[in-house]
Subunit: 335 residues, 2 copies
DNA sequence: ATGAAAGCGCTAACAA
DNA sequence: TTGTTAGCGCTTTCAT
């Protein structure tokens, strides 16, 4: 039989008789034949979708991957992950260079123009970008609402001295539009709005090794330390909780995270956090990508809704006498 | 200029003059040219190495990935991850079908003969297999020593009623040689050796959703519940700790995990666990794979050494008076 | 040192 | 319905 016949059988293409199909399938089974992805990709599509996953906030990525897998279930597409931890250009290109039919990336820092170029070569969905591109789709959380909810919660509890612990300067660069920049801005705005502008304190996580532990420890060692900390994401929040525990003040400093990572619900952690539908974000991204592959060209954007999950890591401040703090102490006695 | 020239420049091959190289490089930069991985793979190698990562014990996989990345640093190889959660045959094949030059997989359950076949097509390194293959390399922890160390620690503390919480039956099938089967066997052997054969109790984690929480809760609800639990890996241990905390007996049931996941060191978790050099395992696997690609054909095996990390999740049993429990109490006073 | 050309395994358009 | 054939973009051998 001819290769064309085999090709048609494999692709379920039109124009092949039942008995031919049977013969081909028998041969495939007997020879253990497997089509070469490389050759396929060269001629058409590889049926692989790439997902670039930055090391930062690794736990949140688990949700994204789960969602993408769910969305791809039953489709002919396979998910391929590429871990990145530096500037993501290289990793993204290594995916785009013919390995995959389309890609999802989480790279708030790469240049928008560069992405538009990339998107002309291969369909792209970007996660966590608040820009308004023309050539690619975006899936993003409502960071304004999420950060505001977190801050409002702490303020409602009666906290005044609230610090923010976030990623390095690069990730929050002033007009970059990254989720972390927006969370930081909202933190500042809420503090100002609540009349605590004088206590605005931002700490940043250091080089990967020590995480946000040192930065938090420094915050706590001050004469007038924060009574609450808003962490830019759950992984940082974990470091913050660790630093608080190690400083011997477990339970005395409220901590809010972001992402509602699986660990946040663990009773030994029990972290108040902002849920932004990570799984749904992953699923939407994969779905959008497939739509692009099927021919859609107009831009789409999915904005995930956020909701605050209140757990025991946030309590009213230990009252030292001021109005709201006093109210807080009462509440804390009820626990 | 000819494509041959370009090809040579890209591959740093022999036979190209400096001025030609310069011209080519200028053209590459100007056109933003990127070689197609697919075409390359078709003709020779893709310079991609695949790593199949099962969803189970996800946190341990982080170490493996980190190690593999470290080993690949500075080589021309890129790491590509393929998430799997069911029977891994499909995922492995989807990698092997021309996408990658070689692959690392963590699939204790796939058939050895099938793997030998696979290894004839593409270089393979398997993680966590205690078999003695001819065509592929293995990287494995010393599960006998690791499990024994964990059990010995609990017995030394004075525990008699020790339960084991592990994965589903499939993963511990009697003569399968999986790490979890060996840990289970060692658990049983140590219990018998210590004269506690009558208390051997094995619980298993249910379908992914509830984890090992239910199984643990059932254990604890018994009239004569265990005073210590040996969990087959840290992710299960986390579920166990959660169930213990939720049963209101935080700190009363000792828990040992396995893998020394990053979370085990968190002060709010502080889990005693068996370290098996996960990062080193990943690095060794990647290194072995590269050696294979460079022509090695004889089999290699790397056995990671284990070491017990004692933390506060294990304490002597709350003494109800028996000999060993009393001894344990003394030790605990030293803490 | 350079270029021409064959062919990797597949798909798609066309011929039989 | 089937088989033939022309490339996809690269590497590699062989002439020049």
């Amino acid at each position: 039989m001819s290769r064309a016949a085999v090709s048609k059988v494999i692709r379920n293409a039109y124009g092949v008789s039942p008995q031919m199909r049977e013969r081909v399938e028998a041969a495939i089974a007997k020879l253990g034949y497997r089509p070469s992805v490389a050759a396929r990709a060269l001629r058409g599509s590889s049926y692989r979708l790439g997902l670039e996953i930055p090391h930062v906030s690794a736990r949140f990525m688990g949700q994204i991957v789960d969602g993408a897998k769910r969305a791809l279930w039953g489709t002919p597409y396979q998910l391929v992950l590429a871990p990145a931890d530096g500037p993501e250009y290289g990793t993204i290109e290594s995916l785009a260079d013919g390995l995959v039919d389309g890609l999802i990336a989480v790279s708030p820092l790469v240049d928008a123009a560069w992405l538009e170029d990339l998107a002309r070569r291969v369909p792209v969905v970007m996660l966590g970008r608040h820009d308004s591109p023309t050539g690619y789709d975006t899936v993003v959380g409502d960071d304004v609402a999420g950060a505001r909810a977190a801050m409002q919660h702490l303020l409602d509890l009666g906290h005044c001295r609230i610090a923010h612990v976030t990623e390095g300067e690069a990730v929050t660069a002033p007009r970059s539009g990254t989720p972390h920049q927006i969370r930081l801005d909202m933190y500042r705005a809420c503090m100002v709005e609540a009349g605590h502008a004088d206590f605005v304190q931002v700490a940043r996580r250091g080089p990967a090794s020590d995480g946000a532990g040192r930065a938090t420890a420094d915050l706590l060692r001050q004469p007038n330390p924060p009574t609450a900390i808003f962490a830019a994401h759950d992984d940082i929040a974990l470091d913050v909780l660790a630093a608080v525990a190690e400083s011997g003040r477990r339970g005395e400093v409220s901590v809010v995270g972001y992402d509602n990572t699986d660990l946040a619900a663990h009773p030994l952690i029990d972290l108040t956090t902002v849920d932004q539908e990570g799984v749904e974000m992953g699923a939407q991204a994969a779905t959008m990508l497939i739509e692009r592959l099927q021919g859609r060209t107009e831009r789409r954007e999915y904005v995930a809704t956020t909701s605050l999950r209140i757990r025991s890591s946030t309590t009213p401040p230990r009252g030292t006498g001021s109005g709201p703090a006093r109210a807080g102490s009462l509440k804390s006695a009820e626990r």
